[in-house]
Symmetry: C2
Subunit: 133 residues, 2 copies
């Protein structure tokens, strides 16, 4: 398979596959005589794994760890779970942070009549002490 095919099947773009190779996330692909990268079904599987992991918000670094664990048949599932739980915590923290932002923003916009008059509580809020917003 050429890189385009494997890209289509895995959901990871050709450009990104080359990038992943360049940073060592996936091993260097073998080449044809003319220099094209060659891939097999196993590579599609690996890239799908990566794609799913990235979609769940794991960093590329963490995906590397997950890949190692995935390939190690003797690994302890506890190691995987620990990584996943720590990631969930991170995601939760991010959600909370965004919620706080949204609530403040919503609060400000509700007070803003939003017409063609210049008075704007949003700008006043941004300019003043945020505590009083």
């Amino acid at each position: 398979m050429n890189i385009g095919q494997v890209a289509k099947r895995s959901g990871v773009s050709a450009k990104t596959i080359r990038y992943y190779e360049s940073i060592g996330l996936i091993p260097e692909a073998s080449r044809t005589d003319s220099g094209y990268r060659r891939y097999g079904d196993k590579d599609v599987e690996t890239l799908r794994f990566i794609h799913h992991s990235r979609n769940l918000g794991f960093s590329v670094k963490d995906v590397g760890l997950l890949l190692d664990l995935w390939r190690d048949q003797k690994r302890a599932s506890g190691d995987v779970k620990a990584l996943a739980l720590s990631h969930i915590e991170q995601v939760d923290r991010k959600i909370e942070e965004l919620k706080k932002m949204r609530d403040t923003l919503t609060h400000l916009t509700k007070r803003c009549h939003g017409d063609d008059r210049p008075d704007c509580p949003i700008l006043k809020g941004l300019a003043g002490e945020m505590a009083e917003v």
Copy 2:
């Protein structure tokens, strides 16, 4: 005031203030004879405005727009509100996305016993079709 003072008062680091100047978010500061940047209370106010806006998740580009609106005494509050509402939408979309991630992750980890045995539903989930997870 030197840059360190204004950094302390505004909550924006000296490094970042120089960066904001370099990208044109704030105008170039005047200098002392020896080349130090000089600031006044108005600059502290501006940097505070920027700091608050960034904390609420506005992009630097959007902060630029907000600053323009802030400085324009004749602007319509509707323009500000539109920007804020669109930003709230973005934040909400991000929250939903993260929630979906978290739910999937939680689902997977709940099924993983997480001990020293190698069987791990998390890895299986990442490897397989995510629909079946």
